[in-house]
């Protein structure tokens, strides 16, 4: 390979103090997670000294019926709430993008509230709502018993989807729509052939976001769930309160791997990590190079 030139004045990444800094931040962010994953394979309950490779904690975790149930619950809730959030979020974004109507600013502002409101406030609101207004019946068959949690999750997820979709729609060239209409497409046909394809990447990003938010949520679920509707984070919480055990490590490792796999899939479909972060897409900076 050819010789590299000396770092240019703004190539901060090639200067050692910043490399050191980045390495430090990397260790800070990743070392605890890596340690957690590594010690889920360690054949010792207490010691951090490596005692040999084992899968027995995975076996234990997978044989823990209540942990599995919680895991399945979490995935079910995430899937259903993602689906609903996607529809509601896309509709909200379309309404704000397409129409001028009285109270638009109010709707826009109210839609932002679930995003900015502290989780705990949303959690207690859901607790009160399902205690006083809409008591969710006990003992419903699965998955109907998860209804309350799903409703709560949709309430805080769909505004995020709306934000992502709306950011995408801002870059839509309305002349495309006019061209479709000019060529004879009906309103619905235009939506299907021109608007939805433009929206598609943001729907994927939004789905990823909603799924992660749902899977990640502890506080709001904690206030909404009953004794027979335990999710994975709530289950882990009750286990962690007692002690640190390799089983929790094993279960956590499974979820981390799941997250990484999901992320990889989202990136494969999406291409650009910045746009998957929830509207932080700003990679299109013009470079003043010849």
């Amino acid at each position: 390979m050819a010789k590299r030139s000396a770092p240019g004045p703004l190539e901060y990444l090639r200067r050692w103090p910043l490399q050191l800094w980045l390495a430090g931040v990397g260790i800070f962010l990743y070392a605890p997670l890596v340690a957690l994953m590594v010690f889920s394979f360690n054949d010792s309950r207490r010691n951090i000294v490596w005692q040999g490779f084992t899968l027995k904690y995975y076996e234990k975790a997978l044989n823990n019926a209540s942990l599995i149930e919680a895991f399945v619950n979490s995935l079910t809730i995430a899937a259903v709430s993602t689906f609903l959030s996607l529809i509601l979020g896309a509709l909200a974004a379309l309404a704000l993008w397409r129409f001028r109507f009285p109270g638009k600013a109010g709707f826009d502002g109210a839609l932002a509230l679930p995003i900015v409101a502290p989780e705990i406030c949303l959690g207690v609101a859901m607790l009160v709502f399902f205690a006083k207004v809409l008591p969710w019946p006990q003992g419903l068959p699965w998955p109907l018993n998860l209804g309350a949690i799903i409703i709560a999750h949709v309430s805080f997820s769909f505004p995020f989807v709306a934000v992502v979709v709306r950011a995408r729609m801002a870059s839509f060239n309305r002349e495309l729509e006019e061209a479709a209409r000019d060529l004879g497409a009906s309103e619905w046909r235009t939506l299907k052939d021109v608007i939805l394809p433009h929206m598609a990447p943001s729907l994927i990003a939004g789905a990823f976001l909603a799924f992660t938010l749902s899977l990640d949520d502890f506080v709001i679920t904690f206030f909404t769930s009953g004794p027979d509707t335990v999710t994975f984070p709530v289950k882990v919480y009750s286990m962690v309160r007692f002690s640190v055990t390799p089983e929790v490590n094993a279960a956590s490792t499974i979820l981390i791997v799941l997250t990484v796999v999901l992320t990889a899939i989202a990136l494969k479909v999406q291409g650009d990590p910045a746009s998957t972060a929830g509207g932080h897409a700003a990679l299109d900076r013009p470079k003043n190079r010849p």
Binding site: A2, K3, R4, S5, A6, P7, G8, P9, L10, N288, R289, P290
Partner: protein, 373 residues
């Protein structure tokens, strides 16, 4: 006599696998208005940015006043730059923008204020010091950028496509002003541009670049009349190129024979190519004369070329009337089209050369340039 102020020694710059600047050696003298000219992506901006210190050469050295500045950061180089986007700091007033460099140099406030005032006067922005950049027009912002760079009294002023963002009228005006400004301040200007008219009008010397390679360094006049390669001939102005063989090559005459042209191209000077070499004859449209063809009449007489050379017959296939002049595409035997530019000397005579007319094309023995590559 002029002395060199900037020297590029075998400078190469790669971005990954892309070679932006390929082994360029170049010397620029003190007091020159030097233009780096080329199509976009030719490496001219990279060359300028290496001079300013924003890119570092992969290989080679850059000297200013004989000092190797490869390891000098941009803030310690005796050069200042006018950016393509002007890069006027949007959060500072015009005066603060212009004073920025002096503040860094810790120039006392009184002297600083005086020099800011002078610099603003120099670029005809007197009295606008308290404005914010978003209250200025594009042309005014450019003047701020100029004043801001010149106030540091740099050894060399670098200009990156300074006129490209201005509209046509303003561009013409700024062109004249840049020229005057350089004469006033008397420092070396190095300007990057892709606009050949701009380069020809402003530069004392030009470097033409293509794909990272230096093609030719010459005065505007020499670039146009004595291009060194087909690329330069074609890039600067428009040209008719005829590929052919050097049939005669003597001390005081040469003949190029091209299969595209029914007549020989006769030159009244020798070419350093050697007989039998493949060459290209470059003929500028305005150096071809149009003559009326009348059946039965003898062809026009060219007094400096032997009979049968430098004269071909054709049919006008396309005509663009541009007011002061007209261009014609003339199809000659064999199907090749030749472009001719003709001044409309009277109010009527372009009517002799209408579409479909048969004409003679002739040129002087000193007009074609013979290119070896």
């Amino acid at each position: 006599m002029s002395k060199p102020i900037i020297t590029f020694e075998n400078v190469t710059k790669r971005f990954g696998r892309m070679v932006a600047v390929d082994n360029v050696s170049l010397t620029i003298d003190e007091g020159e208005f030097f233009c780096l000219l080329g199509p976009s992506g030719c490496g001219k901006t990279t060359l300028l940015r290496m001079l300013a210190g924003f890119e570092t050469p992969t290989e080679g050295r850059i000297l200013i006043d004989g000092q190797d500045i490869s390891n000098v950061p941009p803030n310690r180089r005796p050069v200042n730059m006018v950016f393509q986007s002007y890069a006027v700091f949007p959060h500072m007033s015009v005066a603060d923008n212009v004073a920025y460099g002096l503040k860094i140099d810790r120039v006392p406030a009184a002297e600083r204020d005086r020099r800011v005032e002078e610099a603003l006067e120099l670029v005809q922005l007197g009295g606008l010091g308290s404005r914010k950049p978003d209250q200025l027009s594009g042309g005014q912002r450019q003047r701020v950028a100029l004043a801001r760079a010149l106030i540091k009294r740099p050894r060399v002023l670098l200009l990156d496509e300074p006129l490209s963002a201005l509209d046509a009228k303003l561009r013409d005006q700024m062109r004249t002003e840049l020229c005057t400004l350089q004469e006033t301040v008397g420092i070396t200007f190095i300007m990057v541009t892709h606009d050949q008219d701009e380069a020809l009008a402003l530069a004392s010397r030009c470097a033409v670049m293509n794909r990272g390679l230096l093609q030719q360094v010459a005065t505007p006049n020499d670039l146009y009349e004595f291009p060194g390669s087909r690329f330069v001939a074609d890039f600067i102005g428009s040209v008719n190129l005829f590929e052919g063989v050097l049939a005669v090559d003597e001390q005081d005459q040469a003949v190029v024979r091209s299969p595209e042209l029914p007549a020989d191209i006769y030159l009244d000077h020798g070419v350093t190519g050697g007989r039998g070499a493949t060459v290209w004859a470059a003929l500028r449209p305005e150096k071809i004369e149009l003559h009326k063809y009348t059946p039965g009449q003898p062809p026009p007489v060219l007094d400096d070329s032997p009979a049968g050379s430098n004269l071909v017959r054709g049919v006008i296939r396309h005509e663009s009337y541009l007011g002061s002049e007209s261009t014609y595409d003339v199809e000659i035997a064999g199907g090749r089209r030749v472009r001719v530019l003709r001044s409309n000397l009277t109010r009527w005579d372009q009517e002799d050369f209408a579409l479909g007319e048969e004409v003679w094309l002739g040129w002087h023995a000193c007009s074609p340039a013979v290119l070896l590559n």
